[in-house]
Amino acid sequence: MTIGISLLRNAALGAVALGLLASAAAAQTEVRISWYNDGNEGEVLRDLLDRFEAQNSDIKVIVDTVAYKAILESLPVQLAAGEGPDMARVTDLGGLAQHYLDLSPYLSDTAYWEENFGPFLNWLRLPEDSGSIPGFMTQLTVTGPFANKTLFDQAGVALPGDSATWDDWAVAANQVAKKLDIPIPIAMDRSGHRFAGPAISMGAKMFSAEGEPAVVDDGLKSMAELIVNWHNDGTMAKELWGSVSGTTYLGANEDFANANVVLYMSGSWQISQFANTIGDAFDWWAVPNPCGPAACTGMPGGAALVALKTTEQPEAVAKVMEYLSSTEVLNEFYGRTLFVPGHIGLSKSGVDFDTDNPLAKHALETFAGGVANLSPVAFDLQGYVYNRVMFNAIISRLGQAIVGEMTLDEAYGRIEKDIEQEIAERKRGG
């Protein structure tokens, strides 16, 4: 009899405990983030969010790690259908601006955001908007080249200096490749964004005096001719720009890591990856952007964590954002991921980067130093809401010119028409 009562009591207590647990779980707000990784940032984010959840038991943050391609292609469709996540890490900063949620009514200190993220917030805003706060930069990126310094040393060729032109680099890279039988003297990611910096250096203005896209000018033509000539004379391998169609992105990071490339034009986001994959196997040396007659610029850019209008819990989203964007947390995030900070305060004070690798440290210094050399045209282009339309038209048509499907003159005409048509379609509605 006693055993029976005890069993009943235990069962009742168990039921109450289960009920309490269930109600606690029901009271917990779930925040979903769509996230992609270039390096270890997903791991660092999860670690930071675990600490946030420990302090805020009412919020559970789920990080859905997806392929970068899904962020570019699937997320916009999801958002258009009103079925997106609460937050997402995006790189088409202005292109998705219509879907961002303005967090300012939910933030406790909007002045902190303006002060530390101000210049970058404009990249996340629609043209007519000057006050919304949709998120912050998880990384600021700057495009620029990496040289395989070990190959230069082995070949006995000196690295071109800080004010070297693209032609100087092409000559030097070819010398190294020839002496050491390296298959690819120069590689550049197959991306309009990567091409834009060198084109601006050569004098491309990208916009008319009225601020409308005017991509094809002498500056762009100079760089386009250089690229096509390099493909024809073997300075660049056709496998990258010439082997796929349309706007398909291809990077040469693996070829560079395997020492198949002498000079690789990419950007600061490769630092963490190279520190892990190459380590000290050879000297991967970040060098300043080569110069043209107009500038020695790369392109700014980056990825932002933004709040989305599809969320049903803006307060919880704002709370997560406030935590992740705080100086202390971002310092740790940038430090552990080796990302160039997109936080003005941290840029000024400096981030304590968590690496002993002198090559990574040198690369971070080089790219951070390169920010000062960025052309205003590059900033304007990065902030333009339809910049991806421009990048994609350039890359797809140049790709066709490289494989001989059309002449460069035909490609220029197509680039202008493509941009005009795509922007008109976007402005038509939706």
Binding site: A80, S245, E425
Partner: protein, 339 residues
């Protein structure tokens, strides 16, 4: 009762027992069926039976077809119909705007026409090779050769693989540092960059597609060959008919129904080619292997504007072409049957 009789009786009882649930279900179904029959009449009952399939077909084929048609006369970047302005036949006009369709560079949407010509080239070559190789393989496998079963499995095996897996396997073989180039260099040859040359890229797109699907068509033709009576071949042999005459006069005519199925299926599959080639070549170099379905996918989903209207219009045109192709084949088949 003998042991055999006991076993038979036991089996019968077990069978009856197993049939009980089925019988019960049938009895239960009988009630609504009888009711339906009373309400709609015996003559209309077949419609009731095909209703589930029809509903499935309607939801997943007819309605999307209609929606696609509506999208093709709208513009903008909105996903929902309410967000999309009506633009009439503008998207079709855009696709068909050419000074000369022989010269794609005169077409406003040159990539669409490049896709059309690439698809036509692919269809003609791939279907021809597919039929020839499937037929030859079926003829060989129909003969009494050693390890026939093994070879039949070998040829059918690629059919079981996912198109993406097939493409990735061949990509690894054909890359600059792939198996084939390693083999070529071991023989003292130079590396060939297969995906940089338009001709090589098209060749491998066709080769891989034939390799992956040939087993399926071989199987259909093999079934047809086995259905031909050996008496006919014996009679031909007794008459001293040559091997080639036997093939042209007996094998091929009697294999025609199966051959027609192979032609129809191979044609439709070739026009719809996408996944294998997309993974293998990405449509490149340039647009050398960008086919019509990839153009539709890229325009609708992979471009920054996600131009659903233009993609929908292109898919309506592709659907129209497929319809014409199917009707032509039906016409040919019916004429052949009549003769």
């Amino acid at each position: 009762m003998s042991t055999t009789e006991q076993t038979t009786s036991l089996r019968a009882s077990a069978g009856e027992l197993a049939a009980q649930p089925v019988w019960l279900i049938m009895r239960l179904l009988d009630i609504p069926m009888r009711f339906a029959q009373r309400v709609i009449g015996v003559k209309r009952m077949p419609y009731l039976f095909i209703l589930p399939n029809l509903a499935f077909f309607g939801i997943f084929v007819v309605i999307p077809l209609f929606v696609n048609l509506v999208y093709s006369v709208t513009g903008g970047t909105g996903l929902f119909m309410s967000q999309r302005p009506y633009v009439g036949d503008e998207q079709y006009g855009h696709l068909l705007n050419c000074d000369s369709i022989i010269d794609v560079s005169t077409c406003r949407e040159d990539r669409f026409w490049r896709g059309v010509y690439n698809t036509l080239t692919f269809v003609v070559l791939q279907v021809s090779f597919m039929i020839v190789f499937s037929l030859v393989t079926a003829l060989v496998l129909n003969r009494k050769i050693r390890a026939r079963g093994f070879f039949r499995s070998v040829f059918f095996f690629p059919v079981l693989l996912s198109p993406v897996v097939v493409a990735l396997i061949w990509k690894w073989i054909l890359l600059r540092d792939g198996l084939l180039n390693a083999f070529l260099t071991s023989l003292g040859g130079a590396k060939i960059l297969f995906f940089v040359s338009p001709a090589w890229a098209m060749f491998w797109a066709i080769f891989v597609s034939v390799w992956a699907h040939m087993g399926f068509f071989t199987l259909i033709l093999l079934a047809g060959l086995q259905a031909i009576s050996p008496d006919l071949y014996e009679a031909a042999e007794m008459d001293g008919t040559s091997k080639s005459r036997t093939f042209w006069r007996i094998t091929l005519p009697l294999l025609w129904p199966n051959m027609l199925v192979v032609i129809v299926l191979a044609l439709i599959r070739a026009v719809q080619i996408f996944d294998e080639v997309f993974v293998l070549t990405g449509g490149g170099p340039g647009t050398a292997t960008q086919f019509l379905v990839q153009y539709i996918y890229t325009t609708g989903f992979a471009s920054p504007t996600q131009n659903f209207g233009l993609a929908a219009a292109a898919s309506v045109l592709l659907g129209g072409a497929l319809l014409v192709l199917t009707l032509a084949q039906l016409f040919v088949a019916q004429r052949k049957e009549r003769t």
